[in-house]
């Protein structure tokens, strides 16, 4: 068949197909017809086919496209107008009228379906011939090069596009569709970070949620509250709590009729995840956990019964936590303890559950060392780390980060925890970590980062500005002797309060990364990621 003519006819048919299909869906929706599983699958396949054909339409070079467009527009205009007329008619019509309206497009639908089938058969035959002829390269090349010529638009995650009104609008629409309340930003944001969200603890995300939470599962509401109030903080704790909440969700889930568990459960989880990210932006470890769960859910075979599927998912979650978190921390402790020798002075920063675990284990294995806990405002998490270590019996010293360069001459090793390890070897951790690594490097003190592999992330970042998290600015306000000087900071136009949560440390400052796979240099992170992807 002649290329351009064929394509023209194809595209006309596709456009009318699209209209007919839209009409079909609109009719089905307005008639209240329950689409059975098979019909839904058929619709899905048709949508996919349609999208593929759309891409094919974009494939041919510009000139052809323009020609096509001009020619397609003309015949498609009357075609679109008539279905457009028909489309509002079934929408507005009552149930009695719609069957009548359905008959007319049904006839043309049948005709076009027959035409379409005939064309698909011929296309398939020609494709086969092309393959054998080796002409596929020729047909694919013109497809490939125009795609390369077209600019590749990367999709930025919305949580770092807060200053873009279009992205905000999209987010608002998405949340409205999912019936998740939108949390509004609070206070003046420092201009360098105006592309990030800044929420206040005084406006909880539950303000607009109905009190017996129906749209969002109660355990997810509870989890979101605990995130936003900081009751569950720390990468591991957040992931474990998230998986626990998912277990409850799966427990209470029941497949609606005409749906498959593997598809519907994933759709059910999306509004929950949106809600949680409104409460507090998701961490890299949570993102990986969610990806894993979603993959597991979609891998459930459709013949599997609901009870069996639920049980399998629960087991899968349990094994994920066991392997990636509990056993990983055991493995990391084992490696790390080799690095701790008697007489060591170890410096830790903030409260990392993994580092605390390592130190407690080392103490139990009778290593003689003492710890210096460095802490920073406003979170003052070091106090919690201090409490846990002292309760165990370890000798500790406590300083604030401003005293870092004074105590570093005493230190023999620095152990740091990580929030995520990025693909270019940078370590994302609590704000202040990069300072510690920098000063330690200046004093030639080895810096060891302990991180489980499930926190490895494919993102690449070289600075702390692009993607970060802004915490409640009111946390920076301190009241001493009954006086709060920053009480009305919002009224001062030129004053902005910045409460950063994370920062990135370059790999030059990190000497070793201890993971459950072993002790690797910082630059081997992409290798681990590649190996993990191949495994999965």
């Amino acid at each position: 068949m002649a290329d351009s003519d064929g394509r023209q006819v194809d595209s006309i048919n596709h456009s009318t197909e699209e209209d007919v299909k839209l009409q079909e869906v609109v009719q089905a929706k307005c008639e209240g017809k329950e689409l059975t599983k098979e019909e839904k699958q058929r619709l899905r396949k048709e949508k996919k086919q349609h999208k593929k054909n759309k891409k094919d339409d974009r494939g041919p070079p510009e000139k052809e496209k323009e020609k096509e467009k001009a020619s397609v527009l003309a015949p498609s205009k009357p075609a679109t107008q008539s279905p457009a007329h028909k489309a509002p008619v079934p929408v507005n019509a009552s149930a009695s009228e719609s069957p009548v309206a359905a008959e007319k497009p049904a006839k043309s639908k049948a005709e076009q379906r027959a035409e379409r089938r005939a064309r698909q058969d011929t296309e398939r035959a020609s494709k086969q011939g092309k393959k054998e002829g080796g002409q596929q390269s020729a047909s694919s090349k013109p497809k490939a090069t125009p795609n390369e010529l077209q600019p590749v638009v990367k999709r930025l995650p919305e949580h770092i596009q807060v200053d873009d009104p279009a992205a905000l609008k999209k987010l608002a629409k998405k949340l409205e569709r999912q019936q998740v309340p939108l949390r509004s930003d609070y206070g003046y944001k420092v201009s360098l970070f105006s592309h990030l969200h800044q929420y206040s603890r005084k406006n909880p995300p539950t303000q607009q949620i109905s009190i017996p939470a129906t749209v969002i599962h109660p355990s997810i509401v509870r989890l979101g509250l605990q995130y936003s109030q900081g009751i569950i903080a720390g990468s591991n704790a957040r992931s474990v709590a998230l998986l626990h909440a998912f277990k409850q969700v799966i427990q209470d889930y029941s497949t609606p009729p005409n749906e498959e568990l593997s598809r519907d459960l994933v759709n059910k989880l999306s509004p929950y995840i949106s809600f949680l990210s409104q409460c507090r932006p998701l961490s890299a470890s949570m993102g990986n956990a969610i990806k894993h769960i979603k993959k597991e859910i979609s891998n459930i075979p459709s013949q599997c019964k609901e009870e069996e599927a639920k049980r399998r998912l629960q087991e899968c979650i349990d094994s994920y936590i066991n392997e990636k978190i509990i056993l990983a921390s055991e493995a990391i402790s084992k490696y790390a303890i080799e690095k701790i020798s008697d007489g060591d002075v170890i410096l830790v920063y903030g409260c990392s559950s993994l580092v605390n675990h390592i130190l407690c284990e080392a103490f139990e294995k009778q290593r003689k060392f003492r710890v210096i806990v460095v802490d920073s405002r406003p979170r003052l998490e070091g106090r919690e780390a201090l409490r846990r270590l002292v309760k165990k019996g370890i000798r500790c010293t406590y300083v604030l980060i401003s005293a870092l360069s004074y105590i570093l001459p005493e230190v023999s090793k620095v152990f740091l925890g990580a929030h995520a390890l990025l693909a270019n070897g940078y370590v994302m951790s609590r704000v202040g970590t990069s300072q510690i690594a920098l000063v330690a490097k200046a004093y030639n003190v080895p810096v060891l980062v302990c991180c489980e592999t499930y926190k490895f992330c494919e993102r690449v970042q070289t600075d702390s500005f692009v993607s970060n998290e802004l915490d409640d600015p009111d946390d920076l306000i301190v009241t001493r002797n009954g006086k709060t000087h920053l009480e009305n900071w919002q009224t001062v136009k030129s004053l902005g309060l910045l409460n950063l949560v994370y920062d990135v440390t370059p790999p030059d400052f990190v000497d070793l990364v201890i993971t459950d796979l072993g002790m690797i240099p910082c630059t081997s992170v992409p290798v681990v990621l590649r190996v993990k992807n191949v495994d999965q």
Binding site: I211, P212, A241, C351, K391
Partner: protein, 453 residues
């Protein structure tokens, strides 16, 4: 489902018998709506879809026949009747409906009128996995003169002592003055765990409680607890710091004093959930603590936690005394955007109805009548030349010509004769005041209602 709402509407209104001897308390009109309308309205606004109402047969009959109620309240009212003579306490009532309760509950009393943001109370319940979360508010001074009160009543007779921690959210201590013999006794265990405690006395308990499911099960096992406010809440608050719950050798204690520990154990065992191990892991790994300065973990390792939300501003009334009733009637009409004069009322053009008065449906107000700062109920007839100031007129009242009513409460179906001058009185239900009567600061009730000495 997350929470089930339970509305306690079986109370007798024992502190305002003059008003309630004929009308059950839930049906007293406040702002021309029955008192029982307000809590479901609050619940409906935040998203509840059904409420279990525990009440008496009389109230249930009215609920099912009252047209206005039916249209206004869109949520489902699941009415459970109890015998009035049975004299059930609120905890007994919960035990009675134990079968219906499947999740955590939100218990609210029918005499609560408030505009609190309920999510504040429920968020404490959710975030900290609390066993009890309640609402309290600062007590407002009642400024209106209460009819029938001889002299100023001292407000400080039955004070509540409420102890909270420095955040103001955790409830550490609760006692009523009546229960204390000589002084306030604080246990050392509380002081050791929370060295800084704020004790407040000017708080009004709103009787709105979020309770965990395990508490209902505990009530079923312990039949001696009759009242939620009087016994259950102080018990739970005390139990937070009880040794047996916090010690790790709980098994030893149970062997020693099996019977006593049994009940305590019940509460603890019932409050552990299935995936406890995972939650425990999450809490261990989390770097958060609710207090600092000592060596113990978050919540001091205690499983039972009680929280309170104290309302600083906003409206919160408990209509259980005459003074509260009058105050509520004054304030409530401003809450709602109902038109002050109901469209079904017949108001003569030559009458003067002030803007801060409300007139109910089916009223008849005649000429040259002046109504200021008053609430007039349904089906009331007011004849000519009547002056009503600062009063509450309930339903079905007839006021003849030339009356002057000031600062009074006239109950259902009363008749005020011509030319009567009534100042700061309470006219009971169905009473007749003779014409040309002059009454000041009196309570006019039937002789059968007078107390027997």
């Amino acid at each position: 489902m997350e929470l089930q709402a339970v509305l306690m509407a079986a109370g007798g209104g024992s502190r305002m018998m003059d008003l309630t001897y004929n009308t059950p308390k839930p049906l007293l009109p406040v702002g021309n709506r029955p008192l029982i309308w307000y809590p479901p309205n609050l619940l409906e606004r935040v998203g509840f879809e059904e409420v279990i109402v525990i009440t008496t047969k009389e109230v249930q009959k009215t609920l099912s026949t009252d047209q206005r109620l039916k249209t206004d309240v869109k949520m489902r009212l699941d009415v459970v009747c109890i015998q009035e003579e049975a004299d059930m306490g609120t905890a007994d009532a919960l035990r009675h409906i134990q079968q219906k309760i499947k999740t955590d509950i939100l218990v609210v009393s029918c005499d609560l009128i408030t505009d609190v943001a309920l999510h504040e109370v429920v968020d404490l319940f959710r975030a900290h996995s609390a066993t009890l979360s309640m609402l309290m508010s600062k007590v407002h001074e009642f400024t209106e003169t209460v009819p029938g009160q001889k002299g100023k009543k001292k407000a400080g007779e039955q004070r509540d002592f409420v102890g909270v921690d420095i955040t103001g959210k955790r409830l550490l201590f609760m006692a009523n003055e009546a229960d204390l013999d000589e002084g306030l006794v604080l246990r050392k265990s509380i002081m050791r765990k929370h060295p800084r405690m704020l004790i407040k006395t000017g708080l009004l308990d709103a009787h709105l409680y979020c309770l965990k499911r395990s508490v209902v099960d505990f009530l079923v096992h312990n039949k001696s607890v009759t009242s939620i406010r009087g016994e259950l809440v102080p018990y739970l608050v005390r139990k937070q710091f009880s040794k047996s719950l916090n010690s790790q050798n709980a098994t030893e204690d149970s062997e020693k004093n099996h019977k006593q520990q049994d009940t305590h154990h019940n509460l603890e065992l019932l409050s552990t959930s299935k995936d406890e191990a995972l939650l425990q892991l999450a809490r261990e790994r989390s770097c958060w603590n609710d207090h600092r300065g000592d060596m113990s973990e978050a919540y001091h390792g205690g499983k039972l936690r009680c929280y309170v939300h104290i309302m600083e501003e906003g409206m919160c009334y408990r209509v259980n005394t005459l003074a509260a009733y009058i105050e509520a009637n004054r304030v409530v009409p401003k809450l709602f955007e109902d038109p002050p004069i109901h469209p079904a009322a017949v108001v003569s053009e030559r009458s003067l109805v002030g803007s801060d008065s409300i007139i109910g449906p089916l009223c008849q107000i005649s000429d040259r009548t002046s109504i200021k700062r008053s609430n007039v109920g349904t089906s009331t007839t007011i004849k000519e030349k009547v002056k009503i100031t600062n009063s509450i007129i309930m339903n079905g009242v007839t006021i003849e010509e030339g009356c002057n009513i000031q600062g009074s409460v006239i109950c259902n179906n009363a008749v005020i004769g011509r030319g009567a001058d009534i100042k700061y009185c309470l006219v009971g239900s169905g009473q007749r005041v003779e014409p040309e009567a002059e009454r000041t600061n009196e309570v006019i009730v039937g002789s059968d209602q007078l107390m027997e000495i």
